[in-house]
Every structure is written in C-alpha cells, then in structure tokens.
C-alpha cells in the first residue's frame, strides 16, 4: 500500500472545492480574496489529482471509498477511481484552474458568487467522475447543471435565457429518463435479490429480459447522448456555448461533454451490456453522422465560438464512435481522446476568451491578420488549431489514430468511412485560422499581445498538448486499469455481440 491510499483522497476531491466555495461565499466582501481562494482551492485539487498518478498499479479500482449514506434506500456514498476517471479527474481539475484564471479579470462584479459556483461545479463534476453508486451519480449529474446554468444566466451574454432553457430542457429531459431507468433497475435488482442497492457492481448483475434491458438502456443512452451531444440532440449546444461566458464554455466543452461519454461507458454500457452491444451498430453510425454533420456545419459558421461549438460536437462524435466499435484499442483511444479533446477545447476557448476580452465579441469578420499584431497569441492559436485538426505529434492525433486503428480492426468499412473526418476538420480549422491569423487586420482593430497571466494559462495547455502527442504513455498507462472493462467485454462476447 502507498501512503496515498491512506487518506480519503476521493472525498477530498469533492470536499476541497466545496470548502473553497463556502469560503468564497464567506469572503464576499473582497473580490480579490475570492479569486485567490478559488485559485488556491482549485489548485489544491489539481495537485491532488496529479498526485493520484503516483498510485501503484493494481487491478480493478485504484482507489475506492465507501461510506454509509441513505441506508433505507440502499444508497451509499461510494467513490471509485480507475484509469478513466483518473484522466477525467485530472482534466476537470486542470480546466477549473484554467477557468479561474481565464475569468480572473473579466469577472469584476459578484465575484464571490461566480467563483463559488465555479467551485461547486467542480465538486459536482468530481462527483460524476467518481461516483460508483447510481443514486450518488444521479445527484451529482443533476446538481452540476445548476451552477453551470446560473453562471450562464448571470454572466452570460445578453439574452441568454432562451439558450439556457434549451440547455436545461434537453439535459434535464434526458436525465429524468435516466432516473426512470435507474429506478427500474433498482427495483428489478431488489426484487430479484432482495437487496435494494444502487451500487454499480451490484446492479450490473441484474438479470434483465431483452426488451426491458433495451428500454432501460435507452433511458441512459438518451441522457448521455444529450450531454455529449449526438446529432440531432445537439441543438441546445451552439446557442449555449455562444451565450455562456467563455470560461464556462471552456468547461462545457472541455469537461461537461465528457461526463456524457464517461457515463455512457461507465454506466450505460456496463449496466446493459447486451443492449449496448446490440446498439453499437446504430450508435456508431449516429456517431459518424455527428462527426461529419457537425464538422460540415462548423465550416459554415462565422462566429468563432459557434464554429468551435460544432467542432467540439464533431470531435465528441468521434470519441463516441471509438466507444461503439467494440474494440479495446479504440476504446482506449476514446478515453485518451476525451482527455486530449478537453485540453484542446480548453485551450481554444481560453484563446477565444482572450479575443472576447479584447474586442468584445467573437465574430470572425472582426478579426484578421493577427499574426502581425500579436505573434505570441497567434502562435498559441496556431498550435491549438493544429492540435485540433489532428497533426501528429500533438495530442489529438494519438487518440484519433487509436480509435481509427481499433475501428478498422473490428469494422473496416465503418473505419474507412470515419477517416475523411480528418479532412473535414482541416477544412474548418484552416478556414478559422485563415480568418483570424492571416490576411489584413480590419480597420480599427486594437489588439495587445498576451500578458503574463495569459501566458500562464496557455503554456500548460501547450505543454500538455505536446506531452500527450509525443509521450502519450503517461496517460495511456493508467487506462490499462480500466475497471469493469473485462466484465463488459465478457458480457458482449457472451452474447456474440462483437459486430461483424
């Protein structure tokens, strides 16, 4: 045993941001103090998350905590960490720090509320990525939405309410259906065994008839597909991304979208393995449609945030594609890609936030020729763009190639169809770069290059991009300890679910 495992680290991952949020509320008189409190607590979480990489290799859960909670229901406060959640926890911790830094200067009023909501969001996200009890998971899943929407409503652009309601209706609609699925599963499991429990390990042993499993699976799938999102459930996303303050957009695309994919893998697939295996054919096609459709639509956008929103959808579709081709290589690729995508999108939106800070909006026609004005900013922008279009040596390539290689192994035709996505990505990304960096600046564009704080935001992103691109092993190794995968694969194989 490592000395790390002695302490309730996982609970701390949730407790520290909550404590930070509380302290922020208490110190609402001084906005400077709030900022530093937020930075400190999110930084502490980041350090903690990073230190989890030092955990010893072992099968199953790297860390697990289990406390009694609502014993009448059988709900327990169970947290568990495996390779996938490790990456997600690290990503969340990192991006929250970045979001704090990004909003350092733009948020000057109601600072306490802002940062405490941000930290509450972090706690919710950590809960989602760590919960092994479905009741706990559901609670975190819904509760993380609340700080996010309030942040959008209060600090978002003018007229953000319709977008927010779209966001709410889609996500809550999906999650309420998931609640029904959870309830059904809970009830059936209780009836079968006499033990009422929400534990993931217990519930996945529930015996389900085919059609019932399908319905339950659909409930989960819908909730997650909205969050990811898959076409046509993505319709809430562009407006929400555009109206949200950019720091929140950073989190929405960097982390919140991942909760959907994470949930898909951790809960939907593992609780209903047979239905999942049956759905893979459809899911992979829907994912591919998402990839292409969103990329294509991204090409037609004239607002940077909107373009990035669609680009994010497209990339997320690709990750889902990797999960749904029932191949271990592709699956690991998807997990890595979840991390990479978070880094890239985080960096992209951090850069977009800097645009917004300078000129107040993000329409492409207001920009141009920035390389001449701000070479350093432009350099970062270019690198992030390259990462986004999957240049080898940068982060996105590794995940993409793993997904493609895996997909090609199990489904050559579908794999081949997926490949042109790299072309579409190049098309819209290059168009973006063309409009922002090259050409002549429009008249009256005032632009200062990045300052010290902004460099401090961007450099970690850059380092991580190169790190993942050149030494992905740091992040791929933990994925060897993906809990539940053997079970899932076994169930799929049992059913003959591996697709032709």
């Amino acid at each position: 045993m490592n000395e790390l495992t002695f302490y309730p680290l996982l609970s701390l991952l949730i407790a520290i941001p909550l404590g930070g949020a509380f302290l922020c509320v208490l110190s609402r008189r001084s906005s400077g103090l709030c900022r530093w409190l937020a930075l400190l607590s999110s930084g502490a979480v980041l350090v903690l998350a990073g230190s989890l990489f030092r955990l010893p290799d072992q099968t199953g859960w790297l860390l697990r905590e289990d406390y009694a909670w609502i014993d009448t229901l059988g709900a327990r406060f169970t947290l568990g960490l495996d390779g996938v959640s490790l990456l997600m926890v690290l990503l969340t911790a990192l991006l929250i720090v970045m979001a704090v830094l990004v909003s350092w200067r733009t948020i000057s009023e109601k600072t306490a509320l802002y940062f405490s909501l941000l930290l509450a969001l972090e706690a919710g996200l950590m809960g989602v990525f760590l919960a092994l009890d479905l009741f706990l998971f559901y609670i975190c899943w819904e509760i993380m939405l609340i700080p996010a929407v309030i942040l959008i409503v209060v600090w978002g652009e003018e007229g953000s309410l319709p977008a927010v309601f779209k966001f709410i209706f889609f996500t809550i609609g999906g999650s309420l259906l998931m609640l029904l699925s959870i309830i059904s599963l809970y009830y059936l499991h209780g009836e079968q065994t006499g033990v009422f429990s929400f534990s993931l390990e217990a519930l996945r042993l529930t015996k389900l008839s085919g059609s019932l499993e399908l319905w339950i699976y659909l409930g989960f799938l819908l909730a997650f597909a909205v969050k990811i999102p898959l076409v046509p459930l993505h319709i809430w996303l562009p407006d929400t991304y555009c109206k949200a303050p950019t720091a929140i957009t950073l989190l929405l695309s960097g982390v919140l979208a991942k909760t959907g994919i994470y949930g898909l893998y951790r809960f939907a697939f593992q609780l209903c393995p047979e239905a999942a295996a049956k759905s893979f054919a459809w899911l992979s096609i829907v994912a591919l449609v998402t990839v292409f459709y969103a990329a294509w639509t991204a090409f037609g956008q004239s607002d940077i945030k909107r373009l990035l929103a669609y680009s994010s959808v497209s990339h997320l579709g690709f990750i889902v594609f990797g999960l749904s081709v029932s191949n271990r290589t592709a699956m690991e690729g998807s997990f890595l890609q979840m991390f990479s995508h978070g880094i890239t999108m985080g960096a992209f939106f951090a850069l977009t936030a800097m645009i917004e800070e300078r000129i107040g909006d993000t329409r492409m026609e207001r920009l141009g020729g920035l390389w001449g004005r701000a070479p350093l900013w432009s350099f970062f922008f270019l690198v992030v763009a390259l990462s986004s279009l999957g240049l080898p040596g940068l982060n996105n390539f590794v995940g993409e190639i793993l997904i493609l290689a895996g997909a090609f192994q199990s489904l050559p035709w579908l794999g081949a169809v997926a490949v042109p996505s790299i072309l579409l990505a190049a098309l819209y990304i290059l168009r973006l770069v063309r409009h922002v960096l090259w050409g002549v600046s429009p008249a009256g564009l005032i632009w200062t290059d990045v300052g010290r704080r902004e460099i401090f935001i961007l450099v970690p992103f850059l380092i991580l991009m190169v790190w993942v691109g050149c030494w992905p092993q740091t992040f791929l190794d933990p994925l060897q300890q993906v809990a539940g995968l053997p079970f899932f694969e076994g169930a799929v194989a049992l059913k003959g679910g591996v697709l032709p």
Binding site: I70, V149, L180, I183, S184
Partner: protein, 473 residues
Amino acid sequence: MTWTDFAGLVPVLILLGGAILILMAGAYRPHYRLFILAGISIALTACGVAVFSTSAVKEVSGIFRCGPYADFFMALWSLLGALTLGISFRYGEERKFAPGEYVALVLFSCVGMSFLSMASSLVGFFLGLEMISLNFYILTVFHRQSPEAPEAGMKYLLLGAVATGFLAFGIALIFAATGTLKLPEAMSGMVAGGQIVPLGLLAIAMFLVGVGFKLSLFPFHFWTPDVYQGAPAPVTGLLASGSKGAVWAAMVPLGAGLAGGLAEIVPLLKALALLTLATGVLCALVQDNIKRLLAFSSVSHMGYVLIAFLSGGLTGERAVIFYLVTYSIVVLGSFGVLACLSTPLGEPRALSDFKGLAYRSPFLAAALTIFLFSLAGIPLTAGFIGKFHIFYSAVRAGHTWMAIAGVIASLISMGYYLRLVFLVFQPRTDSPSPLAVCQPPGNIAVAFCSVLTLVIGIFPAPLLKFVAAILSP
C-alpha cells in the same frame, strides 16, 4: 370516553385550549407580538408533547385513532402552525391583524388538520375537514383591506360549501352502502367479490368530488389560484401545505381500506392524475404572478401525490406521506419568503419583482432558491427524494407510463421554477425592486424550512425510516 382516552388527544387539546385562551385574551388585551409568540409556544408545546407522547389507547370515541401515525401528524401540523405564525410575525403586524382571532384561527385550523389526519371514522374525517375549511374561510379574508380578499373569500366559501355538500352526500351514500362509518370497514364494505358495489361507486364519485376539491385535483382545482392569490401569504402557506397534507394523511388509510377495490378506480385516478398534472404545469408555465404560479404548481404536485397514491402498497403510502411532509415544509417556506418580502403596500406579485433579489437579500434568495429547487425536484433537496419515491412507487406498481408522465411534467415545470431562480440571480438594472428587504423574525421560520429541506434532501434516511415506522403499526 375516559381520561385515558384524552391522553391520546393531549396535543390537540393543548392547541385547542391555547387557541380559546388566546381568543378570549384577545378580546381584552390584544397585543400582536405577544400573542404570536404565545401562539408559537403553544404550537411548539403541542408539537413536543406529540413527539414524546405514548398513548395507551388506540382509538378515541371511535372517531380518532391514536398511535404513532396520529402523533406524527399532530406534531407536524403543530409545527406548521408555529411556522405559519412565525412568518406572520411582521406580516400581520403591518396589516394590523386582530391578534387574538388570527392566532386562534391558525391554531384551530391546526386542530382541524390533526383531527383530519387521525380520523378513524368518516365522522372524524368530515369534522376535521370542515374545521379546517371553516377556519380558512375566515383566514382568507383576514386582511380585509386587501383588494383581492372579497373575491377570494367568496370563491373559496361558495365552492367549499358545494364541495362539502358533495362530500357529505358521498359519506351518506357510503353509510347507506355499508352501514358503517368506521374507516377500514366502511371502505372494505363497499368491495364485494373484488368489485365495488354500484352504490359504492356512486358514493366514491361523490366523495372524490369533495376530496378532489380540497386537494385541487382537476377539474375541481379552479379555486386554487384565485384563493392563493387573494389570501394573505402566511395563510396561503398553511392552506397549501397543511390543509392538503392533512387530507392526504387521511386518504392514505382510506386507500389502504379500499385495498382490492382500489384497482377498479385506478384508471380513473390515473386519468385524474394526468389531467391534474397537465393543468398544473401548463397553467403555471404561463403565470406571471408568483402566488398563482405557486398555486398551479401546487395543483401539479397534487397530481404527483395522486400517482403515488394510486400506486398503492406500502411503497406508495410511504411515497405519499414522505412527499406531503416535504412538500408542506417547502411550500410553507416559499410562502414564508413571500411574506418576508411583503411590504405594507402589498405582497410580491409579478415575477419580475424578484429580479436581482440575490444581491439585495441573499439569505431570502438562497432560501427561495432552495425551495424552488425542491419543488422542481432537483437533487440535494427534499423534493428530489420525494419525487424519487413517487416515481419509484409508480414503477414498482407497474404504472411506468405514469412515471413517464411525471417525468414530462417535471421537465415542463423546470420552465417556471428555474425561470424564477434565474430572475433571482439576474442583476437588476432597471427600476428598483418593490420588494421589502430582509427582516429577521420571519426569517427564522424560513431558515428552518430551508435547512430542513436541505437536510432531508441530503440525509433522508431518518425521515424515511420514521415514515415507514408509522405506516406499519
């Protein structure tokens, strides 16, 4: 009736005696704050006694039953009475409420609620219900200068009286069909060979009209928004929480008594539940007045409870009781917020008045947010646990479609609850808000409700255990 019989009724008697004393004292030396405090302490005493009482008898005069079930509700309604008086502290003083009458009426209605919840006979049921109604007829128009009071009072009284007529006729028919007014027997007597006798069906129809009125089920819900809007906020709070909760508390044994026969009317109840849900959420969606919004929201919540009720079984009963307890606390709390925000000029009306509340009265805003989240069923509040149980009972009873309908209704309801939450957090840029700034006395009650909402939301186990315990004697 012996002295030991009285032992089971001690909390109610405390309320009753206290109310009479205050009423009489009010005729001589009215002192508003003192009387309110006296009323609160009487209610809290009753509550305490109810919590710690262990009655020897099972039934009093064949009308009221004793035991944990009754004790629990006596305690709950006394507590709600105390909270109502708490939130009226400043509200009533500003409106120059006659202290003796006001406090006495609130306490009397708590007595009525207690009677209703502990009724073991249709006589007790009717008496309790009427006791509540008569008190509320007066309380509704208690602020006589209010422009809406006459209309609200008249509507409530006339419709209530008609409902009483239906209820009485229904009870009479039940008696005609079964020859008893004792509760389990009266209900089970109507069921013959797994089916309800024709006269019983008619009786149930009449009965349902009467009860449906009190519970504001569709199509008998019309009075709800108008009365809620016209009545003083604390009174509305008690009306929305206690009077409905007490009826549900009385309905649970009724449903259990009907047992097998219940299956026959389940399709009807389903239709009622669906219509109630739909009307509630749809009308609430387009409301611009906060009290009407809460009124329609309460209509929709009655739809949820009805889903749990018709699902039956121990799970359904547990869901009903848990829901009504949490709902009562939440709804009283939210009307408490309204009372706290009222100025002598009036209560909060338009939703837009709430804009920017979070930056003027952070405490009330936080409380209101918690209540709205709870009403919307967002986790970590009591409302989520309640809704979870309702859906669970529906799924368990095989009424999955009802659960899905509930889900859709919850989804639509996000539209109005969260709109209000957003308004609360949106910075106010235009005109100054007409709402009062936060003032302490009422806040204690509101704080209590909000903390309770959160605590039950996070650690529901004790309450769940307790509810399960009182249901299985």
